[in-house]
Symmetry: C2
Subunit: 117 residues, 2 copies
DNA sequence: CAGGATCCCTAATGATACTG
DNA sequence: CAGTATCATTAGGGATCCTG
């Protein structure tokens, strides 16, 4: 269905008071270990579960699923499950997710300037 | 002195493999509970320790100090201590810290668009 | 193939008391 | 005023095994 569910508090900083702070708001949505990697991967296009897993080898199944669930609940990605056997599930970015591009672009600029390695 | 120290790995995601990912890089530097709030406050100008504490009432002394130390070690803020009694310490953004402004600007734009509350 | 369910560990944060 | 120090808590993440 991939309907955008009501704002899901994910597990980062649950008790954070400052939900109106934009930086905090966005940190809730892409500020953990795996979300940015998944989002970046989905910027390339639609991906299946297994493709994401292979693209991000270090992630465990538990964390990948958890990450995908949260991104879906936050309306950043869509999940499309085809009713076939074996299962076939696709993930892609919503408009909301695609709108993260300028944010990521600026992050990349800053990182390229200061990430000396 | 406020010299920029060598890249300090802070405590977020210590074992993260992907240090070359820009999003990860920046998440290390402003991706915890208090850093964004401190940075945002310092965008307004120089602040004393006590002013920061009052501006962010929910932060504990321990976390505020820890946050400030890490931001300083990462070259994002400067710490200037005046040798007087009682102590007088000022914090402000470095050039590197100020360069976070476009990043924050884009975050704010996205948040204003999708933060429905 | 695409997940769920459990158990476990440690990093991140908090509470409280103390100090130059 | 601007911190330290110590102890306690919790949430994020990992390992492993299981299933429609």
């Amino acid at each position: 269905m991939a309907t955008v569910k009501e704002s899901s508090t994910n597990q980062i900083n649950k008790r954070l008071v400052n939900t109106r702070c934009p930086v905090t708001f966005i940190a809730h949505r892409m500020g953990n270990r795996w979300k940015p990697l998944v989002i970046r991967e989905l910027f390339q296009g639609t991906r299946r579960y297994g493709e994401l897993k292979r693209a991000i080898p270090a992630v465990t199944e538990k964390m990948l699923i958890q990450t995908l669930k949260e991104l879906e609940a936050d309306g950043i990605i869509n999940r499309k499950a085809m009713p076939v056997v074996p299962p076939h599930v696709e993930y892609n970015l919503t408009e909301c997710g695609k709108d993260l591009e300028p944010v990521i672009t600026e992050m990349v600029k800053w990182s390229l300037k200061y990430n000396i390695q």
